[in-house]
Symmetry: C2
Subunit: 107 residues, 2 copies
């Protein structure tokens, strides 16, 4: 089982899949048919992308008759933000260590 940022990065690495997610973020809930109309690929391909996005928690599906409505779950991006700020934090703390070292050397 992969950790959260790993799955998020892999899921969002594909441009087509990211475009679908972006569209759901911009325009809100969409049916598979509407998404397929703009994706430039076949309907099964879109369904597969949606399944992967759902697996990553990035989208939510709602069944209504024979259509399925998908919507973005932006909260799922949280581990990505965490990872990024953690990396920046490591870098910053190293900088702080250097600053601290230089300050002590100065005395």
């Amino acid at each position: 089982m992969s950790n959260a940022p790993d799955q998020l990065f892999k899921t969002l690495a594909d441009p087509t899949r990211r475009a679908i997610f972006e569209r759901l973020c911009r325009n809100g809930e969409q049916t598979v048919g509407a998404l397929t109309a703009h994706a430039g690929i076949s309907q099964p391909a879109v369904s597969k992308h949606l399944a992967i996005l759902k697996q990553a928690g990035l989208v939510h599906d709602r069944h209504e008759g024979r259509q399925t409505h998908y919507s973005a779950q932006v909260e799922a991006l949280a581990p990505l933000i965490d990872w990024t700020s953690q990396m920046a934090g490591f870098w910053e703390s190293r900088f702080d260590d250097l600053e601290d070292l230089l300050r002590r050397m100065d005395q």
Copy 2:
């Protein structure tokens, strides 16, 4: 040529490559040999990962004799932060009346 977030996502999607980047963030500048010692893969594989990280602007290399020192460039993560906050922003603004109207007109 792919846009910035696309290259970042693809580069960071590989766990081995991301581990190398994380190590550089945590521990600062490292030689290829030091990175290879912890990566669990061959030295050429590490060099290839570093080349891809460099291509994405995520690392910087410094040649010193026969060794090459690599260091993380956390600033390169900026487009990732931008993209994430943009997605969150779209999600927020979907409750705006004008955007909602435009969305329904588009369908």
